[in-house]
Structures are given as structure tokens and as C-alpha cells.
């Protein structure tokens, strides 16, 4: 069983990553040769893209930290009303895939904005969308990944016991000073780790630089790799592998920073209620107004604009009762290409979810129950394809599966199966984490009691352990489904005609200028995503704490 697992993880996760590093560092196939990497780094276009990625990534991280950490402190340390709704709204950007975020913001801030135009705030008709710029990319990346910082800081704030603050208050320290002197130092490691993760996500993002940066002539590493691969095909694979390796190194720096920040988190914070926060007093109403204004701007209005765009007759036609139309939905739903993409994405996401959840249960058993060293090593390797940018993973998958498989002689490249393999690698970590947490939460005596009762190992897994980790594995599967259903970064590099995913469909529609239809498809996928999020929320009571980010 463990051997099968090792082969699976090896084929799906380990081999592609190893091959990428080998190709990038020793393209000749023999001794290490950094010539290819050096060649690439010498090219002006690569240098520009690398510089842009660093610049936009760093600036976006600053924005993410300001927004995410600021909101986390306000939500955790003050008596704002409606915090449950607020938290969901703040996490909403995470549930919306980058390409749809980009589309929504383009609608929102564009000259024909259904939100700004009635207010007379939209840019003049015919002018360029202000988001087609470095600032636009930084704004959207910052907003999109502020959720990561928000969640990290919020979790840290919740582990600060209230009595630490009460002790300070009793000692005569005012709320602001207590926050700055006690809470802030305790949450600094979390802020650092969240910032590092936001940076990794920003440099690995494809949807936003693709939608804003390609028209805005602000190339980043992910878009450069995409353009090289689609421009030259697999012939440019060596070069593209070197580029992917550079991107991986960039993300790797962020991941190292994250690990270091987490190492700092050595405070013994145990016991006691979590912080309850301070009364804002007369400031409560103004602060609430400001917070909701930000939430409205960041999470709500872009989606409203997206819906508005999807029901407007044509780009530029002002939205009114008479001009609202569902024609685009009708056309989209009638088009075979759309149906095909929906079917493809549903099948891919469904298969990835089911397989990942199943593998996760077996793997969690070996990781959390048997604690086999091999299983623990596998557990570490599967983090790489999830943590590193999707672009890097896609290139790695191509490198391995471009050629026909040994023994059977069938090639996966150019079929839908290569996308499935990539999804299996990318999302296994999502299913595994909650399952391992649940498996570790099942007390050892539970299994021992079954053993005393005469149950053999397989029976113990199915009769005693499986029922107890099933909700977590299912939740993991649904998280995989949500991630895979809207996925663009990986599939854009692996798709072929007939095998489009929803993400690819939206990208292609947008590329062709069919913005309204792209918006209609996006609205439908967002609705599907929210429905799954709702299903997960219903499951939440039976899950280990922390599985659902929006409920943490």
C-alpha cells in the first residue's frame, strides 16, 4: 500500500519537479551547466520580466499586508458589528479566481463601468482602462492576496490569550499602547509569514498579469513563459524550463522567508479565552463606515460590475432597465464551446477531487497513524507542487509527459489527461492537510480498542478511522474541486483544442474581445463556486477546526 503510494506521489509530484531542476541546471543531460540559465538571464526581455515580477510582487505584498493585517487587527481587536459577514466578505477575493477578479475590476474601473458610469466617475469613453498598467497589476495582486495575510494574522491574533491584554489594562496601559506593545510583537511572525506567502502568490499569479499586463505591456515571468511556450511550442522547452526555474527560485525565496518567519513563532501562548478586543466608543460608527467602504470597494463592487457587464447589451451601452439583457447567458449556454468547457472543468475538478481525497485518506493513515518515515518524506514533497507557482508545475509536467509513457506507449500531451495529472499534483496538498489533521485528531486508543476487539489493519482503517476522517477528506475534496474548477494558470499551458477548461474559455473569450460573454461565463462559475462554499459551510460542524479558511 505504502509502495503504491510512493509510486503515485513519485510519478505525479516528485518526478516532474526533479526533471525540471535537472533540465534547468544540466540541459546537456550530463554535468551541471548553468549556461542556459545565464543565457536566459542575459536577455533583456527576461530581465525586464524578472524586474517587473520583483517590483510588482514587492509592491503588491506591501498592499496585501496593509489591507490584510489592518483588517485582521480591526476585526479581532475591536467591537465592530457584523464581524461574521465582514470576515466572509474579506475572504471573498480568495474564492474568486484571478482571471475573474481581473475581469471584474476591468469592468468596474473601465470607461463603460456599470457602477461608476451612472455616478459620472468612470473614465471617459474610448480612453484606456487605467488598470492596464503597473499600478493596476499591483492593486489587483495586492487585493487578491490580502486574504492570505488576513487569515494568517487573524489566526495568530486568536491565539493571543485575552488575559495578556487584561494584565496590561490592569497595569494602566491604554488600548492602543497595549495593541502596539503586546499584540503586535506577538503577531509579527504571522505578519511576516503571511507577507512571504502573499509574495509567493503574487509572483506566481498568471490571471492578473495576463489580463492586465499583456495589453498594458507590463510583462511578468508567468506571462513571459506563457508567451514563449505558445509562441514557439514545445521546441522552446529548454528555454522555458530555465525560465520556470528562475520563477521557482523567486517563489522559493519567499517560501524560505515564510519558514524563517514561522520559526520565530516560539511564544508559548496557551490557555485562556482569545482576545475579545476593545470598545471603539464614539469611534465605532466612523470606523465601521470606513471598513465597510473598503469591503464594498474591494469585494463587492467589482462583482456587481461583473454582473452588470454580463447583462449589458454591448460594451459601452449604458445599463438601464430597458437595456438589461440575458442574451449573453443564452448565447453562452447555447454555445458548444462553453458547454464543453463546463463539462471538461467539472469532470477534471471532480476526478481530481475524488482521487486526491482517496489518496489523502491512505496517505494520512501512514503520515499520522503509522508515522512511517517514507510517508513523512512523501508528505513534504507534495507541498512543492502546491506552494510553487502553477506555471512552474505545468512546465515540469510537460517535461515529463511530453513523450509517450513507457510500457503503454501512449502520450498524455495534447490530451485532457495531462491537465488531470497536473491537477492531481497541484491540489493533493489541499486534500491532504485537513485529512491529516483529522487523522491526527483521532486518538490512538480508538484504533487500539478496535485492535483489542480483533480487527485487522485494513478493517481498522475502514471501520474505525475512515468514518472519522471522512468529513475532512470530503471537505478537502471540495476544496480541490473549487481550486480546479476555476483553474487557469496550469491549464493555459496544457490545454489543447477540445480540451479547454473554464479558465481557458474565459481567457480566450477575453482575448477575442468578447468581454460580455466572458463576464457571463464568469458569473456562472462564481455562482457554482459559491454554491460549493455553501456546501462546505454546512459540513463545517463535523470538520477539524481551521479546515475552512472563511470560518477559521
Amino acid at each position: 500500500m505504502l509502495a503504491l503510494l510512493a509510486v503515485y506521489v513519485g510519478a505525479v509530484c516528485l518526478l516532474p519537479m526533479a526533471r525540471l531542476f535537472w533540465m534547468g541546471l544540466a540541459p546537456g543531460g550530463g554535468a551541471p551547466d548553468l549556461g542556459l540559465l545565464a543565457d536566459q538571464l542575459a536577455q533583456p526581455r527576461v530581465r525586464t520580466a524578472l524586474g517587473n515580477t520583483l517590483e510588482a510582487g514587492a509592491l503588491a505584498t506591501l498592499l496585501s499586508v496593509a489591507l490584510g493585517a489592518g483588517m485582521a487587527f480591526l476585526v479581532a481587536l475591536s467591537d465592530l458589528r457584523g464581524r461574521a459577514v465582514l470576515v466572509f466578505m474579506l475572504i471573498l477575493p480568495m474564492l474568486i479566481p484571478a482571471q475573474i477578479t481581473a475581469l471584474a475590476w476591468l469592468e468596474f474601473l473601465g470607461p463603460s463601468s456599470p457602477v461608476l458610469r451612472p455616478l459620472g466617475l468612470a473614465p471617459p469613453m474610448g480612453s484606456r482602462n487605467p488598470l492596464y498598467s503597473r499600478e493596476g497589476i499591483v492593486l489587483l495582486l495586492g487585493v487578491e492576496h490580502s486574504t492570505i495575510v488576513f487569515l494568517a494574522v487573524r489566526a495568530a491574533l486568536r491565539s493571543v490569550p485575552d488575559d495578556l491584554l487584561e494584565a496590561a489594562r490592569v497595569g494602566g496601559v491604554r488600548p492602543l499602547a497595549a495593541t502596539a506593545r503586546i499584540v503586535l510583537p506577538l503577531t509579527l511572525p504571522a505578519i511576516g509569514a503571511g507577507a512571504a506567502l502573499a509574495f509567493v502568490s503574487a509572483v506566481g499569479n498568471f490571471g492578473i498579469p495576463a489580463f492586465l499586463g499583456i495589453p498594458g505591456r507590463y510583462p511578468m515571468m508567468t506571462t513571459l513563459i506563457f508567451q514563449r511556450l505558445s509562441g514557439f511550442g514545445p521546441g522552446a522547452l529548454n528555454e522555458v524550463a530555465a525560465l520556470a526555474l528562475i520563477l521557482a527560485a523567486l517563489a522559493g525565496l519567499g517560501l524560505v522567508a515564510q519558514t524563517l518567519a514561522q520559526r520565530l513563532h516560539r511564544f508559548e501562548l496557551s490557555g485562556g479565552r482569545p482576545v475579545r478586543g476593545f470598545a471603539l466608543g464614539p469611534w465605532r460608527l466612523p470606523v465601521e463606515a470606513a471598513v465597510w467602504a473598503v469591503v464594498l470597494l474591494v469585494s463587492v463592487l467589482p462583482l456587481v460590475a461583473l454582473v452588470g457587464g454580463s447583462v449589458s447589451r454591448a460594451v459601452g451601452v449604458p445599463l438601464g432597465l430597458g437595456t438589461v439583457t440575458l442574451d449573453h447567458y443564452a448565447r453562452v449556454l447555447a454555445s458548444p464551446a462553453t458547454t464543453r468547457a463546463f463539462v471538461n472543468s467539472t469532470l477534471l475538478a471532480g476526478a481530481a477531487a475524488a482521487i486526491c481525497a482517496g489518496v489523502a485518506v491512505v496517505m494520512a493513515y501512514f503520515v499520522a497513524r503509522r508515522r512511517t518515515p517514507l510517508a513523512r518524506a512523501l508528505n513534504l514533497t507534495i507541498d512543492a507542487p502546491y506552494a510553487l507557482p502553477g506555471t512552474v508545475l505545468a512546465i515540469a509536467i510537460i517535461l515529463v509527459y511530453l513523450r509517450p509513457l513507457p510500457l503503454v506507449g501512449i502520450g498524455l500531451y495534447g490530451t485532457i489527461w495531462i491537465i488531470l495529472v497536473a491537477y492531481l499534483a497541484r491540489f493533493l496538498a489541499l486534500a491532504l492537510r485537513p485529512t491529516v489533521a483529522a487523522m491526527a485528531g483521532v486518538e490512538a486508543a480508538m484504533e487500539e480498542a478496535a485492535q483489542v476487539a480483533g480487527a485487522r489493519p485494513l478493517r481498522r482503517l475502514t471501520a474505525v478511522l475512515l468514518p472519522q476522517v471522512a468529513p475532512a477528506a470530503m471537505a478537502g475534496g471540495l476544496l480541490v474541486f473549487m481550486g480546479a474548477f476555476n483553474e487557469l494558470t496550469v491549464s493555459i499551458l496544457l490545454w489543447s483544442t477540445g480540451n479547454e477548461t473554464l479558465g481557458v474559455l474565459v481567457f480566450n473569450l477575453y482575448d477575442l474581445g468578447a468581454t460580455t460573454r466572458a463576464a457571463a461565463v464568469s458569473v456562472l462559475t462564481v455562482l457554482a463556486t459559491l454554491a460549493i462554499a455553501g456546501a462546505l459551510t454546512l459540513l463545517a460542524r463535523r470538520l477539524p477546526p481551521g479546515v475552512l479558511p472563511w470560518q477559521a
Binding site: M446, E448, V452, G454, A455, Q468
Partner: protein, 360 residues
């Protein structure tokens, strides 16, 4: 129903022996408590018998059949034992009946037979009709009974219990003591019961095994351990005893040992040998305050503190002859700190020298 024999059993963790060369014979139908402070190796001993741990040396035999020893290790599922866990380890996704009947299902027993046995066992622990409920709907005491029923339903040769009552509050625990005695009497099964609570061990067990740092200190009926501790460790751990130094004077001719304790003459029970240095195990009830008008043969002491304790006062004293020693005893009237008192030692047991005596 089975006898259990441990021979020179040893289990090491990272070089340290958690169970160190323990030999023990448990008779068929006995209720044996394994007693010791936390970390003494008692749980490891139980897990060795269950089969969750493999011994590094020695062997375990149930009814003469070696289940663990050099070259042989029967897994827990093949040992025919039942176990009650400290946390109960009830499977939350199964009903009470599902939990109790699980082992029978594993054996391939028919549905009807399982249902009948489950209901009978639930009635035995006072939970008749609780079958369809979920563990989460039950109180702590009820869960405890379900865990017990699950163990009894298997009709094990040997029942192992790992501090099964430690999660219950005191009144419930006492009720369960009565219940466990009754179940043991009715089923006649051999029970190995791990606890750190000496009162519980005395209330439940026919025989008690005291373990310290993995080594067996003494084994025998509770009365023996209480009255005649084999060594200082047993005397101090068991029966709230104090071990005090004595100056032996010699046999008094009536089978007792005449000696001086803090200068006062005492007559001690003894077994003919003395440890080095000579010492006596003295319980709180063996210390008596002398009336001030008749100090008699007591030793002089100074009151350190006096606390109201309901029916009387609890005194902490320091003998003048040994100011580093603190003795506790009960008084019906209060004292002030620094008051001078005299204390008579009415009884005591001279700790034997040499190896622990055989069980008596």
C-alpha cells in the same frame, strides 16, 4: 478467565528501562492493581501485556501460552484480551450497541446473537435500552460503563484497565468502585488494573503491585503492603506513611523491637532484619499528642502551623531532635505556631533490610 505470568519482563525506551526485569504471577480470577506514580512504567507494563509494545527481554504467558517472548509476538487482536482505556476510546461514529457489539461482529457472530449479547451486557452495567444512543449523547459516567460493557461483551480471558476512572468525579468514582467489584465477582475474570491512586487500589484489588521506575517494589494483599511495607519507597508512597530514623536497642522479648525515635522509646513491629540506616515506617494514626499535664514518653516538637480541618485541626510539627523533618498529625484542639508539644509513637514497622520479602 486466565492466569498471567510475566518473567523477567523488560522494555526500554531510548536506553531507559520503562519496565525493568519485572516478574509476576497473577492467579486465575484475581483482581490485581498496578500502583505507582506517573512515569513508573505501569502503563507500559499494561501495554506489554496487551501487545501494543514488544518486550526487549523476558516473556509473557497467558494461561501458560507464551504470547510474547524471544521470537514470538502475538498481536493484540489475537490475545483474547479486553481493555478499558483511560479515555474510553468509544468510536464516535457508532451507536452504543455498535461499540459494544464490534468485537462480536469481527468474530462473525450472527446479528441476533450479537443483539442478545449486547443487550445482556448493557443490562449488566446498568445501561439497558441505551443501545441506539450515540456516545456523544452520554454523560461521562455512562461512557465509562459503555467502555466496560464493550470489554465484557468480548468475554476476554483477561481484562486490562488503564486508569479507567480517572476522568470521573469523586462520588461517581466511588460508585464505580462498588460496581467494578460486583462485575468482577459476577464474571470471575482476571483483571489487571493500572492506577496511581492508592485508595482506589486498596478499594478494588485483591493484590497490589507497587512499581517504581520500572521495578517491582512489592506485591501482595493491600493489608500487607499497608502494614508491612518492604522498603522506604513503598512505605512513603503507600498509606501516607513517613519513614523516620531509629536507634535500635534490641528485641523486647514480646516479638517486637525496642528502639529510640527522636530520643523517645518505641516498640516496633519487625521481621528480624533492619535496613541501613535503620528506619521505621510510621503512619499518621501512629502519632499521638501527649496531654500537656502528662508529657510521658513522647519526643519534644514545635508546632510549625495549625490549620482548621473541619472535625479538628491539622498540625505540622518539627521534632526538636530533627528540625528538618516535618510531621503531620491531627489534633482536636488548636495550637499556636511555635507552641511546644510532646508526641508519642504508638506503633510503627521497622523497615526490613535486604531484598523485598516474598508476598505474604
Amino acid at each position: 478467565m486466565a492466569s498471567l505470568t510475566l518473567s523477567a519482563l523488560t522494555r526500554r525506551f531510548a536506553g531507559r528501562a520503562a519496565v525493568d526485569d519485572v516478574s509476576l504471577a497473577v492467579a486465575d480470577g484475581a483482581f490485581v492493581a498496578i500502583l505507582g506514580p506517573s512515569g513508573c512504567g505501569k502503563t507500559t507494563l499494561l501495554r506489554l501485556v496487551a501487545g501494543f509494545e514488544r518486550p526487549d527481554a523476558g516473556r509473557i504467558a497467558i494461561d501458560g501460552e507464551v504470547v510474547a517472548g524471544p521470537g514470538r509476538h502475538l498481536p493484540p487482536e489475537a490475545r483474547g484480551i479486553g481493555m478499558v482505556f483511560q479515555s474510553y476510546a468509544l468510536w464516535p461514529h457508532m451507536s452504543v450497541a455498535g461499540n459494544v457489539g464490534f468485537a462480536l461482529r469481527m468474530r462473525g457472530m450472527g446479528r441476533g446473537a450479537i443483539a442478545a449479547r449486547v443487550e445482556a451486557v448493557l443490562a449488566m452495567v446498568g445501561l439497558a435500552g441505551f443501545g441506539p444512543r450515540r456516545p456523544a449523547e452520554l454523560s461521562g459516567g455512562q461512557r465509562q460503563r459503555v467502555a466496560l460493557a464493550r470489554c465484557l461483551a468480548m468475554e476476554p480471558r483477561l481484562i486490562l484497565m488503564d486508569e479507567p476512572l480517572s476522568n470521573l468525579d469523586a462520588p461517581l468514582r466511588e460508585a464505580m468502585h462498588v460496581e467494578l467489584r460486583r462485575l468482577h465477582r459476577e464474571s470471575g475474570r482476571t483483571v489487571l488494573y493500572v492506577t496511581h491512586d492508592q485508595d482506589e487500589a486498596m478499594a478494588l484489588a485483591d493484590r497490589i503491585v507497587v512499581l517504581h521506575e520500572g521495578q517491582l517494589q512489592q506485591e501482595g494483599p493491600p493489608q500487607t503492603l499497608y502494614d508491612r511495607p518492604a522498603n522506604r519507597l513503598v512505605a512513603e508512597f503507600f498509606g501516607r506513611g513517613t519513614v523516620l530514623p531509629i536507634e535500635p536497642l534490641g528485641p523486647d522479648g514480646n516479638g517486637r523491637l525496642a528502639a529510640r525515635l527522636f530520643g523517645a522509646p518505641v516498640r516496633l513491629r519487625w521481621q528480624g532484619s533492619l535496613g541501613h540506616p535503620p528506619a521505621a515506617a510510621v503512619k499518621a494514626e501512629h502519632l499521638a499528642l501527649q496531654p500537656p499535664e502528662a508529657p510521658g514518653a513522647g519526643f519534644a516538637a514545635r508546632v510549625e502551623s495549625c490549620a482548621f480541618a473541619g472535625r479538628g485541626y491539622r498540625l505540622r510539627l518539627r521534632p526538636l531532635a530533627a528540625p528538618d523533618t516535618v510531621l503531620t498529625l491531627d489534633s482536636i484542639r488548636p495550637f499556636e505556631a511555635a507552641d511546644a508539644v510532646a508526641v508519642a509513637v504508638t506503633d510503627g514497622f521497622a523497615l526490613p533490610g535486604g531484598a523485598a520479602p516474598a508476598a505474604g
